[in-house]
């Protein structure tokens, strides 16, 4: 799931050289679209489709209206403009949907749990999310590596003017890439929406995690995004689980739990800082 976010961002980040803080808003839009449509039609699947469509449409719109003007600007302007977009999207959504969280039900087909060897149980839905993540990873790899569109994207990444000179409509291409990245965010939003509640601001913690993933993995590297997301996911889960126990060895239990929890939420940032301290360009730096 984190990977979906990160992959979408990486696509935009790496290929288009743009910092998109509003990615979290697209994530949120996906979740809201899914919740609304699912509530209206009673079908989670229609909602999922709606989330893809809504996020992609919003992405395309934003690209055409705003982002297009930012490619040549410095990072500061990009950060600010997309920060402005967050304010607009968040307040806009709050206006339309109110501040109350919406809820999404996990579809019948995916509810329940599977029994893992060893007696542990794991919810089917979470497995499905992981499955989608893997499928998207493979899909993206094929798209970028094997298709004409992927070739053009890569060409645009290395030389924006060259590709324009070849007669490829760079504007449309970028809109498409941006919409694709947005759709991935929307999909992630919809799927997470079923695990948590759907509310304004839900995109932001995920956005920041996604940035951590990208920075750890190396900007512009899909492989880095995948490995980074696994690393961050593991760090967080293990940290949450193990640290309280660890501190329990030499502290009273209640203190150990709180201190452990505090450190666990910091742990991924500590990991990131360590990685960047030794590899300032991330684990899989795309190009110098």
């Amino acid at each position: 799931m984190l990977f979906l976010m990160a992959a979408g961002l990486t696509l935009i980040f790496g290929v288009m050289g743009l910092i998109n803080l509003a990615h979290g808003s697209l994530f949120m839009i996906g979740a809201f679209a899914c919740a609304t449509v699912a509530a209206a039609t009673g079908s989670f699947w229609l909602g999922l489709v709606a989330s893809l469509a809504a996020a992609a449409a919003a992405g395309a719109l934003v690209e055409i209206l705003v982002i297009r003007r930012l490619y040549e600007r410095d990072h500061l302007d990009q950060v600010l403009a997309t920060f402005a977009l967050i304010l607009i999207f968040s307040e806009g959504t709050r206006w339309v949907f109110g501040s109350f969280p919406l809820y999404l039900d996990i579809p019948q087909l995916l509810s329940g749990a599977v029994h893992l060897p060893g007696g542990a149980q794991y919810p089917v839905y979470r497995l499905a999310v992981i499955g989608v993540g893997i499928a998207v990873a493979i899909g993206l790899y094929l798209l970028i590596g094997k298709t004409r569109l992927g070739m053009r994207i890569r060409a645009g990444e290395s030389d924006r003017e060259m590709i324009g000179a070849l007669g490829i409509d760079i504007g449309t291409l970028y809109t498409l890439v941006f919409a694709l990245g947005a759709a991935l965010a929307g999909l992630a939003g919809a799927m997470v929406g079923a695990l948590q509640s759907v509310q304004v601001g839900m995109g932001e913690p995920v956005l920041i995690l996604a940035f951590v993933v990208i920075v750890i993995g190396g900007i512009g590297s899909i492989k880095g995004a995948l490995i980074g997301s696994v690393l961050v996911g593991l760090t967080e889960t293990l940290g949450r689980f193990l640290l309280p126990h660890l501190f329990g060895l030499f502290m009273p239990p209640s203190d150990a739990a709180t201190v452990g929890a505090a450190l666990a939420s910091m742990l991924i940032y500590i990991v990131m800082a360590l990685i960047l301290a030794f590899r300032p360009r991330g684990l899989f730096a795309a190009s110098a």
């Binding site: 003007r69 806009g92 360009r281 991330g282």
Partner: protein, 323 residues
């Protein structure tokens, strides 16, 4: 006198005059508004040293703002309940001590963050400063001793020798004096040798190294000074609200500080002040009309970024000149 100097002087004097006018008209609420402007302007002026002069887009200055705030909150709490802080040291309710403590702690933290993050540049720098601020944010949320997620109240505003800080006007004057000091410091740094090296590093790092100045050290020092100034503003902010919460560490806060600078004008002496005036008045005016004022703030910000580079100072005082 240049036009920029005149505009700057007008803004500063205007801010100073506003609360007196408000008091004369019997509208003390506006004094608080002006205090808020002064404090935010001070925080953003601190950031302006790193961002405006040094080109270091720190997306984590909320960390230092929050450290200042928590310094005020924690020291005041210990002074209030009489428990020693650590190593038997008591808390304090003296603002001056709190400012120094906040600034020193922020400076040390900035040194550590800077040592790592200044090895990177561009997007990586933005992201790593953000990550560090988040680290501290989560730490504040999950550390229960000082209120955790709920924050920490300051029951009685901290004291300043010879003034009753509970009188809004006194507190405004304290804040204003610090802002003025911050602006003077900014101007001095900008025009100094250090400032020359710092600004040259923003414009052309290769050139700076080629004359034999190591950009890293200059930037680290700027980052630390910048953090310290923002921390003092954070301590004032805590006293203004008599409350600190983890939201002072949030990345929205970092974003807001950058927004102030952009609205006002990057790297300009009065840029953060102009930005804070516009921002606070805007928040106040629109906030009265609609609770969704941030939507319009977003639109305006977008407009400034896309079409009106240079911000308010750019409009009022023309393009920036470098002697």
């Amino acid at each position: 006198m240049s036009r920029e100097t005149i505009v700057t002087a007008l803004l500063v004097l205007g801010l100073l005059a506003a609360p007196f006018a408000a008091q004369a008209m019997g509208e003390p609420f506006y004094i608080t508004l002006a205090t808020r402007i002064a404090i935010l302007a001070l925080a953003a002026t601190g950031l302006n040293i790193a961002l405006g002069l040094g080109g270091l887009v720190s997306f984590g200055h909320a960390a230092f703002f929050g450290i200042g705030g928590y310094a005020a909150g924690i020291l005041a709490t210990h002074a209030f309940n009489g428990e020693p802080l650590l190593l038997g040291l008591p808390g304090t309710n003296q603002m001056i001590v709190i400012w120094i403590a906040g600034a020193v702690i922020a400076g040390i933290v900035a040194m550590l963050i800077g040592l790592i993050s200044l090895r990177t540049s561009g997007v990586y720098f933005i992201m790593i400063t953000l990550a560090f601020a988040q680290m501290i944010y989560y730490f504040a949320i999950s550390w229960p001793a000082y209120g955790g997620e709920d924050g920490l109240s300051i029951y009685v505003r901290n004291a300043f020798p010879g003034a009753n800080t509970l009188v809004p006007m006194s507190f405004f004057l304290i804040s204003f004096a610090l802002l003025a000091a911050g602006l003077v410091l900014f101007a001095l740094i900008r025009d100094s040798r250090f400032g020359a090296a710092l600004q040259a590093g923003r414009q052309n790092e290769t050139r700076l190294a080629a004359v034999g100045i190591v950009p890293f050290r200059i930037r680290l020092a700027a980052f630390v000074v910048s953090a310290m100034m923002t921390a003092v503003a954070g301590a004032l902010f805590a006293d203004l609200n008599r409350f600190v919460s983890p939201s002072m560490f949030s990345w929205h806060m970092s974003g807001e500080l950058i927004v102030l600078i952009i609205l006002g004008g990057v790297g300009r002496l009065a840029g953060p002040l102009a930005g804070a005036i516009v921002y606070v008045l805007f928040e106040f005016a629109l906030g009265g009309i609609t609770e969704h004022w941030q939507l319009f703030l977003g639109l305006i910000l977008l407009g400034v970024v896309l079409f009106a580079r240079g911000g308010v100072m750019g409009m009022l005082a023309g393009r920036a000149r470098h002697g």
